[in-house]
């Protein structure tokens, strides 16, 4: 990983017209300003991870792995915990 020390007001530049500027440093974190072409997607990393996880989940929501995991759960103590029925049917739209 490339590590660069920057102070508030200083920036780094990526190819493609992307510039990241350190605006403010506080005890709670760094405030960054990002300039990029409109076609460039800029996301917080956790949003990116959630997107990738959701895509993978949607693609793998079928198949025998589900049954395998189900069998594993049923061997464990959690499966006997009631509540799924209530959870799924509690509140109509």
């Amino acid at each position: 990983m490339l590590v660069i020390r920057r102070r508030p007001g200083e920036s780094i530049v990526f190819s493609g017209g992307i510039e990241v500027t350190v605006l403010e440093l506080t005890a709670y974190g760094a405030k960054l300003g990002i300039s990029a072409p409109a076609e460039v997607t800029v996301l917080r990393n956790e949003i990116h991870l959630a997107q990738e996880a959701n895509r993978q989940a949607a693609e793998t929501a079928f198949g025998e792995r589900v049954s395998e995991l189900l069998a594993g759960f049923r061997r464990g103590p959690a499966t006997n915990t009631p509540g799924s029925k209530d959870f799924a049917q509690s509140h109509p739209e």
Binding site: Q56, G76, A88, E93
Partner: protein, 149 residues
């Protein structure tokens, strides 16, 4: 489809409104939770717009008993709830983890971004937490092994 879960899709169940969709599927703003007793404790989050889009979920409290998440002001406004820290066992806000089944690897649960459903108003939101806490790919098998030891 012969994967043991297809019959659940025909069941009637209420729809929940997701004002922002969920990450990567923002256009899907209504989901229902389907359940098949034969497949407990799994639940199936099924899109109204495209029933072919579904997610296998489980209540987070079954995976991580001490789990809690933060609901910031923006998320709270969407859900119609108060901002703050909520336990997965909260009675008003249901907390689900979406499961993935990657090839050649253990099943994982997304504990970075739980799906939260406000029971009283039927609104749902995938609440993405700041990085550095729970993983988006928490290995479910490892957790089960730990519980059984």
């Amino acid at each position: 489809m012969n994967d043991g879960v297809s019959n659940v899709l025909s069941q009637e169940s209420p729809y929940y409104r997701f004002p922002e969709g969920i990450p990567a599927f923002e256009q899907h703003d209504s989901f229902r939770l389907a359940r098949d007793p034969a497949l407990d404790p799994f639940l199936f989050l099924v899109s109204r717009r495209d029933p072919g889009l579904r997610f296998i979920c489980i209540q987070v409290r079954f995976l991580a008993p001490g789990y809690a998440y933060m609901l910031d002001e923006a998320g709270a406004a969407l859900l119609g709830a108060e901002p703050g820290r909520y336990a997965a066992t909260d009675e008003c806000l249901g907390c689900l983890a979406i499961l993935s089944f990657p090839d050649g690897a253990p099943a994982t649960a997304n504990l970075l971004a739980p799906v939260v459903i406000h029971f009283s108003n039927g609104v749902g939101l995938q609440v993405v937490q700041p990085s550095g806490g729970w993983s988006h790919a928490h290995p479910v098998g490892v957790l089960e092994d730990a519980k059984c030891s």
